[in-house]
Amino acid sequence: MPTLTADPQLPEPDAAEARDNATFHAVLQALSRPGTVHGLPGAGACPVAQALVDRECRVWTDDRHLAEVLAMTGAAMVAPELADHLFLSLASAEAMDRLLRVRTGSRLYPDQGATVVAPARISQGPALDLAGPGIAGAARLCLGGLHADIWRVRARLNRYPQGIEMLFHDGAALVALPRSTTVTEV
């Protein structure tokens, strides 16, 4: 007896599924190859939020428009130090203070480190040398629109295997820095 005949036609993803799938492929590739640029199906943090966040999540954002999108997902809005996903600008000194408080997980559960999604100018601004998993030898990335202290703050947060993942979006372009990546300012 066939048990799965409910959908006899070839299944088609709906628009949300197609968008989330494409977003995640970009995120996964960006994290697997730190410093390489990947295309999102839409601009900004919105597609990333939609692909990753739902009512099982605790989030924080400084972006009013995004706050509405996040509310639709059912995620709980919490303080930055409790959030598992943060969507924020990392351009100000205030943002650096905030970033210093985010969850970095524990050695027992490194997965509890937060995912931080921020706007940046990709391929502009200060040059960074990247090394670590996903990088053959060394890679260079230019990233602008961020506070000057950002890499010192990141280095303080990342006590491997504890740490945070950073996703930077610029329009529909995405780069990522997992905690395993060593960043050196050039």
Partner: protein, 356 residues
């Protein structure tokens, strides 16, 4: 000579499935209905282990699997995966349900009385062979009591708490909408209380009995006394988006509370509940719960031990997975063995790892 094309494997599995299904033949709505009506205990057991209260789907799963309980369970659990979580229902207190049966072994009589309700406990287990000779078995009708038992009964533990006999259960400060859900989060240890109870609620009846029985025989330290065993129907109360709370229906539940006198100066409680009426399971599970505090690692009453090993879908799936070909891992171990033989140094090879 060419390789067998991929189609070979596909045709084989299709025909093998057909052979199995030929045993049970056509599945009709009336067959599913008959299973539901004839086998309420089995339907309840499967619903509890599936953590899906849907008698029609459970009966369908039993029909579709030909009565293979683990297959029926997997059908229901996999179906459950596809369903969205729309609401978290209101919590139900132990004494809030419509009680059909409620007994205590700890006292001769209890506030609210001993209510036997539906049970085979005192039936003589004689096969009604006359049915096979063509004579229907017709159970005698129930004679209603002169005064009906009240629908609600107080909880015995509440009386014991009031008497200072039992450590009152710790209030769980978790928010109603934030109750940890085992089906959405992995089970980690030490387990959250909600995860422990959820895990026991969906545990394998047979597995829970085996480990619970080992505790009863002495592999646990606490001997259980059934403080209260309760079969009831409880309302599933949910919130309408407009803000009104309403009942979406009733579900059958079983609850067991067991106690031990081996506390410091008060009774200690073990508790379990499940969907459907399944007394063996809740008594065994409550016994495991009773014995788990401070249990040594790797003992049958250690929480990690019994929760992992009574998960019916995981344990049955892993058991049957050993039918899958393992010739690559076997070949790999064989290579190491031959290498060691060649060295002629070690007549007894070291224990190799589980090549699952």
């Amino acid at each position: 000579m060419a390789y067998v094309a991929t189609r070979g494997g596909e045709r084989a599995i299709e025909q093998a499935e057909r052979m199995y299904r030929a045993q049970t033949g056509r599945i009709t709505p009336s067959r599913v209905k008959e299973i539901g009506a004839a086998l309420p205990a089995l339907v309840d057991r499967v619903m509890g282990e599936a953590s899906l209260y849907a008698p029609d789907l459970a009966a369908l799963a039993l029909a579709q699997s030909g009565g293979d309980l683990y297959e029926a369970l997997l059908l229901l659990r996999a179906w459950r995966t596809t369903q969205p979580r729309l609401q978290v229902a209101e919590p139900v207190a132990a004494d809030e349900g419509f009680t059909h049966r409620r007994i205590s072994a700890a006292f001769k009589d209890i506030p609210g009385g001993q209510i036997l309700g539906p049970t085979l406990d005192y039936a003589h287990r004689l096969l009604a062979t006359q049915v096979l000779e063509g004579e229907a078995y017709k159970p005698a009708a129930v004679t209603p009591a002169a005064t009906p038992a009240p629908a609600r009964h107080p909880s015995l533990a509440a009386w014991q708490v009031a008497q200072g006999l039992v450590e009152p259960p710790m209030a769980d400060p978790v928010d109603r909408d934030a109750i940890p859900d085992l089906t959405r989060e992995p089970l980690l240890f030490p387990a959250k209380r909600a995860h422990t109870l959820q895990s026991l609620a969906r545990a394998d009846t047979g597995g829970t009995l085996a480990l619970g029985y080992s505790a009863m025989r002495g592999y646990g330290t606490a001997h259980p006394t059934v403080n209260e065993l309760r079969l009831s129907e409880v309302e599933v109360r949910v919130r309408h988006p407009r803000g009104v709370t309403f009942s979406a229906g009733r579900v059958k539940t079983s609850q067991a509370e067991v106690v031990t006198t081996k506390g410091k100066d008060r009774l200690r409680l073990g508790f379990a509940a499940t969907l459907g009426w399944n007394e063996v399971k809740v008594i065994s599970a409550a016994t495991l719960d009773l014995n788990s505090p401070g249990a040594p690692k790797n003992s049958p009453v250690n929480e990690e031990f019994f929760l992992y090993h009574t998960e019916p879908v995981e344990s049955s799936g892993f058991c049957i997975h050993f039918k899958l070909p393992h010739y690559v891992t076997f070949q790999s171990s064989l290579d190491a063995l031959r290498g060691a033989q060649a060295k002629k140094e070690a007549p007894t090879p070291a224990k190799t790892e589980e090549t699952a």
